[in-house]
Assembly symmetry: C2
Homo-oligomer: 136 residues x 2
């Protein structure tokens, strides 16, 4: 019987979680290569994401795991996970179900561009947020 | 004489800098749409970036402004600056001079992919780091 060179789970130890136990996670859409959102993950969120192939984040406001799409149905299927040279960010390549990643109903959370010393909204609302979250 | 509706500099106040006065900055390459790197900016770095059109970050290790490319020559020309719905991340669209953003000599800092519970290096070194930084 042989021991695997890299024991399962060990890959998490190569990452640098901050003092709150969190790491920055970027979701990039495979189809468009747009950055959809930036959120946080703890070890459990990242492990579940890797195992299940669906993006799970840590919600700092709600202080619990946040399975992306759990309310809106707009889940993210994860095709690839990368990390950077410092191991303090993870980059997910995702398929965004429903085409809307942002809670404002837009495709991406990065819908504001700096122009003439002001932030201009340049992307349309695709789905009414009330429809995303307000279902009775 | 009229007062501008949005006074110069005010756009910085709409962002959320953390308790260290920093905000996460992502550099995405215009040409390839790859994420090149993630770093930090303080207000001064972001203001200079917006004004000069060249990426300036805050180096946490050196505790000073870090004009990307100041040693290697691999500067980043900034074509667009976006922020997200929370205003706690900025996303730069950049042209990466020299084709190398990472201090390891690779195109992108995100050169490791999670495969079979381990991080696999999947991108080549394009420039010897000694050449980038070690010039006598």
């Amino acid at each position: 019987m042989t021991t695997p060179a890299v024991p399962a789970g060990n890959w998490l130890d190569e990452l640098h979680f901050d003092e709150q136990g969190l790491i920055t996670a970027i979701a990039q859409e495979v189809l468009t290569q747009r950055i959809l959102m930036v959120a946080w993950m703890d070890r459990e969120a990242l492990q579940e994401t890797a195992r299940s192939g669906r993006a799970v984040y840590w919600s700092r406001s709600r202080r619990r795991l946040w399975r992306k799409g759990e309310e809106s149905g707009n889940i993210q299927n994860v095709r690839e996970i990368r990390t950077d040279c410092d191991g303090d960010v993870v980059l997910l390549q995702v398929d965004q179900i429903g085409g809307v990643a942002c809670h404002t109903g837009r495709h991406s959370c990065f819908f504001r561009v700096l122009e003439n010393d002001g932030w201009m909204v340049v992307d349309p609302v695709l789905t009414d947020p009330a429809e995303l979250y307000g279902k009775p």
